[in-house]
Symmetry: C2
Subunit: 411 residues, 2 copies
């Protein structure tokens, strides 16, 4: 891998077409933030919008704001902003609940479309919540459904006539490895199965092509690369051919065709809005809506290209300075998302030592250092500096102090 | 009903022990807000807290705030504040998702505890989402479950050995009528059924006694009488005897015993926190947490007593001035919550005319004027003035103008 010199880095930052977005983010002084894949940072747009939502919309508008500030259609409006980021057509994305809850809804929808099949196929090592939810649904249905998890390279071979739905996360949360959505969706369809893609680590990070890949369903997270704020609501995608007659089991009143008729019988909204359940958390939704304005003129292809360069800088520097860190993330740019994962037996104290020096990444059990590459607010120089700080910590064994071994509640 | 004179009213306000809370709310000038049963108003505490959560916790703390600002335990902390308001023991309440989603979880838990029974019994005229969710769960289970809705006075008679769970809303959203939680729970238990109480229109409005009534499960809303902000998360209660082995179907990662172990198998948290699913919307949750500080030294018995007085003022004035408005809410204070519902054929334009005069209530299909009685920020004089404005509108037929007939999206 290439080792970048300081003049190389300075030139990259001078010519960076994405550098102009940095000023939209309110990052603390002295921090290099490499955890935007876990919680995206605050934008000025979100801060101002939430203050306005609190004081003007809620405070002054009170109940009237459901109409006057169109809170009622905010999930659809946010969905419309997300759709182009994930290669979805207008009217196929809305925002509701959490990723876990939306996985439940969509798996139920998918199983209903394949009533004669009993297998939910997923990748071993997928984000746990996906498997937890799939197993719970299988248990609840008590109809012999089974969740089968196989390694990535065994997925295509495991697609047979028993598989109702292939449930995959495009970019793996631990390794950053990216699955081939197009090929796997085609393989699933060839076997008569549907696909449900978890885009938590893709949306806002790289170009996603749901329509291009002919994906059936997708969910994703508002609080990672989309910068929607802690616990921002999740988005949900249903391909156009599955929209007519769409029925999901969390049929709360705001997914009803006419919620304010207060009809005794549930009639699903004749659109993607049928995926809504209860009243959405407007403050959190407003923050996400505002944060998405940053993406209005962003080319996600350029974002991935810069993220690949940041990857090379980080991984290349560490290959030279700290060969004891094992690179888990694929070297091939097409085979990965926008993170770097490094394995080291004492990863936990290493990450604590790095955070103490102002570089924030995160740790994943049992031995992974994880770094998010977020080109809208990271410079090449920051990436270079972060790699050098980590290299120094490794060389000097600065991590090996008792204070860095103390485990926090959330790791 | 008694008709209150202006001096009566002035005396009531002078002696009002709850008047001191009014300054904690940021109500717009010139508005008498009688819709706190739909969306509670902004408190200064919530406004300041959300600004702080945005700038300091999210902006500066970034991902670290899951630990340093204890976001991870915020649902439990908010649950601990709600527990005493609903007569629940510590450790039996948490906050997650929406009321609709929590109804689904709890109904699934209840049905699992009564595997040989097939009926979910509810009241006809219950809030629609309760029935929608119950029916969806029955459909999903495909095991012959049935949702049976009967009138309030037929509930006790309908409790037989087929009933798994009695699903009731304590205070009816349309009429304000209050069910006898203690008696109905006892009747359900005598029939071997469990009870699930929807407290959306009770929590924060009047003393609720979940333990006293021996209720099994409860849910409720954060954005009505608790003033948590638009779409604030919902609370969920599980009686202590049902906590061991508690398993609910929306088994997202944050309900796991050790979410950050990222274990492949779901192990429910050995507490009420097993009711959590995905990542909670922290901004909305922070607003609710702050709004609840208002209740720290509030006696809900005193709140109900003042609400009953506000009821008398409003209903008594209108009985005298506008006898064409039919009172739907029970006269007996023990048989109602803290709202006034009036029936009138042209209720929609009447409400619009009233809102145009600065008195905000709401309309419910097809012919109901609905007013929330919220003693923490309403004075007796406001109630008196609101009743007189409504009386004038009725007497002068001021509502009968085309502009008041135009329907808004949300009514």
């Amino acid at each position: 891998m290439k080792y970048f010199s300081e003049p190389d880095i300075a030139a990259l930052d001078r010519e960076d077409p994405l550098a102009r977005h940095r000023e939209k983010f309110e990052l603390p002084e002295g921090v290099i933030y490499l955890d935007g894949n876990s919680l995206g940072p605050l934008t000025t747009a979100a801060r101002l919008r939430v203050a306005e939502t609190m004081a003007t919309e809620w405070g002054d508008g009170l109940i009237r704001s459901w109409n006057t500030h169109d809170w009622i259609d905010l999930p659809a409006a946010v969905g419309a902003k997300i759709a182009p980021l994930i290669g979805a057509a207008p009217g196929t994305v809305t925002v509701a609940d959490s990723t876990s809850v939306n996985l439940f809804k969509l798996l139920a929808v998918a199983l209903r479309l394949r009533p004669e099949r009993r297998v939910i196929l997923t990748e071993s090592g997928n984000f746990p919540t996906d498997g937890y939810i799939a197993n719970s649904l299988a248990t609840l249905l008590a109809a012999g459904h089974e969740v089968k998890a196989v390694a990535a390279d065994k997925l295509a071979g495991a697609l047979d006539e028993s598989v109702a739905v292939l449930l995959l996360t495009e970019v793996n949360y631990r390794t950053g490895a990216r699955l081939d959505m197009r090929a796997l969706t085609a393989a699933a369809h060839a076997a008569g199965a549907l696909t449900l893609w978890d885009l938590c680590h893709s949306a806002g990070a790289l170009p996603v092509e749901l329509v291009g890949a002919a994906a059936d369903f997708a969910v994703g997270c508002g609080y990672k690369y989309l910068n929607g704020g802690p616990g921002a609501p999740s988005f949900v995608y249903v391909a156009p051919q599955h929209l007519p007659g769409l029925r999901q089991p969390l049929s709360g009143w705001l997914g009803h065709a006419t919620p304010f008729a207060f009809a005794p019988d549930y009639q699903p909204h004749p659109s993607i809005e049928a995926m809504r359940a209860g009243t959405p958390p407007i403050l959190s939704l407003a923050a996400l809506d505002a944060a998405l304005t940053v993406f209005a003129d962003v080319d996600l292809g350029a974002v991935k290209t810069k993220a690949d360069r940041l990857f090379e800088i980080f991984a290349g520097t560490l290959a030279a300075l700290a060969p004891g860190l094992e690179l888990l993330t694929p070297i091939d740019p097409a085979a990965r998302g926008t993170q770097v994962s490094l394995r080291f037996a004492d990863a936990y104290p290493v990450m604590q030592a790095l955070i103490a020096r102002g570089v924030i990444g995160d740790f994943r059990e049992p031995d992974i250092l994880r770094f998010g590459l977020t080109p809208l607010y990271l410079s090449h120089a920051e990436m270079w500096r972060a790699a050098h700080l980590l290299g120094e910590i490794m060389t000097s064994r600065a991590w090996d102090q008792p204070r860095f071994h103390t485990r926090a509640k959330v790791v």
